[in-house]
């Protein structure tokens, strides 16, 4: 009797948690396939893929902004890795002066509310004609992503056994060759994780793009925002789903990329 009651309580609590977590996602998914849905009907009146054709028709706004978003995200990953791999290696290996202060500097964009910084960046960009350009948006996304890229890269390099690197050097490999053939491959899973994370952060970024990207750069989040504010629930739901799928996928697979020995060294 007591066991049955305990299970009932457990089931009800977990059910409530599940409802609170999945209810909002389910509601979004329903809007994505609803053709007609209005009060007081609890479920859509007619279902269909009508709006999917609209979103995915050739040369639609959605396809264009998805392409823009992916392009920006790829450039951002390239820029972040080019900056973060050397920086992460130096932070992990070298006896850097002011190491703590430097780590803290990379943390700043996460530790200070960034909205006011973004519109001041936009103000600076006017002088360089970077507003409304892909390059301007990539720069803003790079600063935002750099925190994760540098911290994860530093942790990934710190987790690589230093003896292996020394062995390669003792056998006559140059510093660069030792790095490229020994250290980098061993740190690759961590670097890979940070690359995926930076890609996602860039794909999802809204506020910085809102200030710097106007009027010419429309990424998928900006398109979704416009559709939502205009009351196009189906279009907003479909574009939101496109953004949701990679985020959830990353959440489910993160542990395969980020090994616990790397996680333990983040911020160390």
């Amino acid at each position: 009797m007591r066991a049955a009651l305990a299970w009932l309580l457990r089931g009800a609590s977990l059910g409530t948690v599940g409802f609170l977590i999945f209810g909002p996602i389910l509601n979004l998914a329903l809007w994505a396939v609803a053709v007609q849905w209005y009060f007081p009907y609890k479920l859509p009146l007619t279902y269909g893929l009508k709006y999917w054709y609209e979103v995915f028709k050739p040369r639609s706004d959605a396809i264009e902004s998805l392409t823009t978003s992916i392009l920006i995200a790829l450039f951002t990953v390239a820029a972040c890795l080019a900056l973060a791999v050397p920086a992460g290696y130096a932070l992990a290996r070298g006896r850097l002066p002011w190491r703590g202060a430097i780590l803290l500097a990379f943390l700043l964009p996460q530790a200070i509310p960034s909205l006011a910084v973004y519109f001041n960046v936009a103000r600076i960009f006017y002088a360089f004609h970077l507003n409304g350009t892909i390059a301007g948006v990539v720069l803003v996304h790079t600063v935002h992503g750099l925190v994760f890229a540098v911290w994860i890269a530093a942790a990934a390099f710190a987790a690589v056994d230093r003896e292996l690197e020394l062995a390669a050097r003792n056998m006559g490999a140059s510093a660069l060759r030792g790095f490229l053939t020994v250290t980098l491959p061993l740190a690759a899973p961590g670097i890979m994780a940070s690359a995926i994370f930076v890609f996602l952060e860039s794909l999802d970024e809204f506020t910085g793009t809102y200030f710097v990207g106007v009027p010419d750069v429309t990424t998928l989040p900006l398109l979704m925002f416009t559709a939502s504010v205009a009351g196009n629930y189906q279009i907003a739901a479909i574009t939101a789903l496109i953004l949701l799928v990679p985020s959830v996928g990353f959440m489910l697979f993160i542990e395969r990329f980020l090994k616990s020995d790397v996680l333990a060294k983040v911020g160390g």
């Binding site: 977990l14 909002p24 900056l83 050397p86 290996r93 909205l115 960046v121 739901a237």
Partner: protein, 277 residues
């Protein structure tokens, strides 16, 4: 090692330069701009105008973010606590699988989910109606300040819970088992033994969430259109409608000050506990 210090500094320099040029420089520009007129003279007018126009919104923002932070803390303590103290392995596994889902979902998508879920005709009201708890015809949606809090808590709890649960998992279980053998209940073990030992992970997670919530523009616009609203919306309005960088930056400075206050509370607590955090 043969690697010279200079080489190491050179490796860090490009990344550091980008952060300085594109974050620290605009940040200092925003502080200076808050205290100067358009002509470049020193002034406090921006703050006087900000206080006149946005006093309510500043209070509203602080209350929203503070309540959300409290809920996020309580919920992640409950989730972490159940994961570490739960006696039923199957229920623990289910919760572990469940709670992480919103972790990487962007705010803008979370806002769109909630915009439909919390609406008068959303799944929440309709489910309660079906269960006979409310009548949806008399119900109102939660698309106001409550909706903003729900969205923030939904989105940020998994992040803090992940940090807290990680810290809890690496605790020495001997004290927990000892307390359990002495007959302490699970709630008491959580509050008196587990939580004090993970307080630094908890506070770091909460401060990062606090900062994040103060930077989000999409959620207040999409969840609650009306007044009062959050200062992020006011900043965007000052910029887009009036190009009024003075008042917008004064509001920005207030958001930095709120973060500073939160960090100060954290540091003071650290000193009070003898720096053991």
């Amino acid at each position: 090692m043969r690697e010279s210090r200079l080489a190491m500094v050179l490796l860090v320099l490009p990344a550091l330069a980008v952060v300085l040029a594109l974050f620290v420089y605009p940040l200092s520009l925003s502080v200076i701009s808050a205290f100067t007129t358009k002509a470049g003279e020193a002034t406090l007018d921006n703050f006087i105008k900000t206080a006149e126009l946005y006093r309510d919104d500043i209070a509203f923002t602080f209350v929203i973010v503070a309540i959300s932070t409290a809920f996020i803390g309580a919920t992640s303590a409950a989730i972490g606590g159940y994961l570490v103290l739960g006696e039923n392995p199957r229920a623990v596994a289910v919760l572990k699988w469940l709670y992480r889902w919103p972790l990487f979902i962007p705010f803008i998508v979370a806002a769109q989910c909630m915009r439909t879920f919390l609406a008068k005709n959303g799944i929440m009201n309709n489910t309660f109606d079906t269960l006979g708890i409310i009548d949806v015809h008399d119900a109102v949606g939660l698309l106001d300040w409550r909706g903003i809090i729900v969205t923030f808590v939904w989105k940020q709890t998994p992040f803090v819970a992940l940090l807290v649960a990680g810290a809890m998992a690496s605790l020495d279980r001997a004290t927990i088992e000892a307390a359990r053998n002495l007959g302490a209940g699970r709630l008491r073990i959580l509050v008196e033994i587990v939580l004090p030992q993970v307080s630094s992970a908890m506070v770091v997670g909460l401060i990062l969430s606090f900062v994040t919530m103060l930077s989000v523009l999409s959620v207040p616009i999409m969840i609650s259109g009306g007044a009062p609203t959050m200062i992020t919306v006011d900043m965007a309005f000052r910029i887009n409608s009036y190009s009024d960088y003075g008042v917008a930056n004064a509001l920005g400075l207030i958001s930095y000050a709120m973060t500073g206050a939160a960090a100060w509370v954290y540091l003071r607590r650290g000193v009070a506990s003898g720096g053991r955090m």
